[in-house]
Amino acid sequence: MIGIVGYGAYVPNYRIKSSTIANQWGNDPVSIEKGLLLVEKTVPGMDEDTITISVAAAKNALKRARIDPQKIGAVYIGSESHPYAVKPSGTVLIDALGIGPHVHVADFEFACKAGSEAMYVAYSHVKSGEMDYAMGIGADTSQGAPSDALEFSASAGGSAFIFGRENVVAEVLFTHSYTTDTADFWRRDHQSYPRHGGRFTGEPAYFKHILGCGRALLEKSGMKPEDFQYAVFHMPNGRFPLKAGKELGFKQEQMNEGLIVPIMGNTYSGSSITGLTAILDVAKPGDKIFMVSFGSGAGSDGFIFQVTEKISEVQDLAPKTRDMLNNPKKVYLDYGKYVVYRRKILFNEY
């Protein structure tokens, strides 16, 4: 049996409400909260970035996996906010966690699906028999330009998954990927913020790839939507994944547990996979989980997991995702503080 042996998530402590951003730019807060189902989003602390978020998530995954970090043969971090243009995020992470130096490390980038991509490759290494354990991580401190629609959703957080053969908590039953060249969302080198094609990001991009991947995954597996307890999709807002899920035949009850975007925002590479951690936190042995990510540019990775009897042994070994999101000590920022935390204003060089 091959699958997830340890999983962990991390979200920062800071938040900004959609209404705070809407009021800044003269938008209607109700249309954001009720229309896009975006209530608040996470904001990274000034001492946090994709590397520190990845380290925190990976530490939680190691707590659940209960394995010697030295046994991990590969580490991949998927993100569109790697702190360096040239110097890997993964090297910092392996030295912080005591993994390696005999380890294969690479940073991945594929807009919002870089995390599931890292999982896909990590899983494949274990499946090939090349190594006992491999880790795939998705994390981001997402960028959204001031006053752009993305500013309501672009948030921070991430999740890590260790794949192995022993003590599997969620077996990978099927995978599928669906990719085309679609210019829906991009960021050029040295640009601070991404640009996107507005409504073009919907049907020709998000829905085409999520539905294309999802339908192929159902066909490949021979399963029906009603065979699954949970389904989770990439969450650029609350409305898109619910619409895509319903088109595939899933009911809202199957999607509610993983739908964390109203209180987390879109963590880009960490979006659907952090929804997956929220599902694993409450899943029971035998439950089947349907996950399809989406990354602009564009593509989707699909996974079908079946939860094993080992899940109950590990759920309480690290902080649960919804507990972190609902942390009573979370700190709300006003727009002025927010632009400083996200470095949206120019500072003097020092």
């Binding site: 946090e48 380290v55 360096y84 912080a96 700190v331 060089e349």
Partner: protein
Amino acid sequence: MANSQRYTREIPRRYRLEAQKFPSGFVSLPRRYVDPISGSKEYENIKLKGTGTILTYTIIHVTSDQFKFITPYAVAIIETDEGARITAMITDTSFEDIKIGARVELVFRKIMEEGPSGIVNYGYKAKVIV
């Protein structure tokens, strides 16, 4: 943390909390050549668990350029559960929760950036457990 060579050498201490334990029981992070109690140069390497207690702290309002956008912030002297006494910035904690005797966990954070083109310095900060 003045340059990339020195930064790289300090990774085991700053990333993984690798400390020295001398035969007298004295635990040190950062590294030192001689046990201040026995004078011994022998020691074993140990890895700190990352939990401890605040011995004392101060709130910084006026600081150097690298940190001026995060003021005010707290810096504490912390005794780890193994007995090492370390200095660490406090993060993600409201000042009202920072007290002498408060329990902390050490978390992996960005400490500073060496300007817009230099390396990013990572290491431990302390977060009060509430």
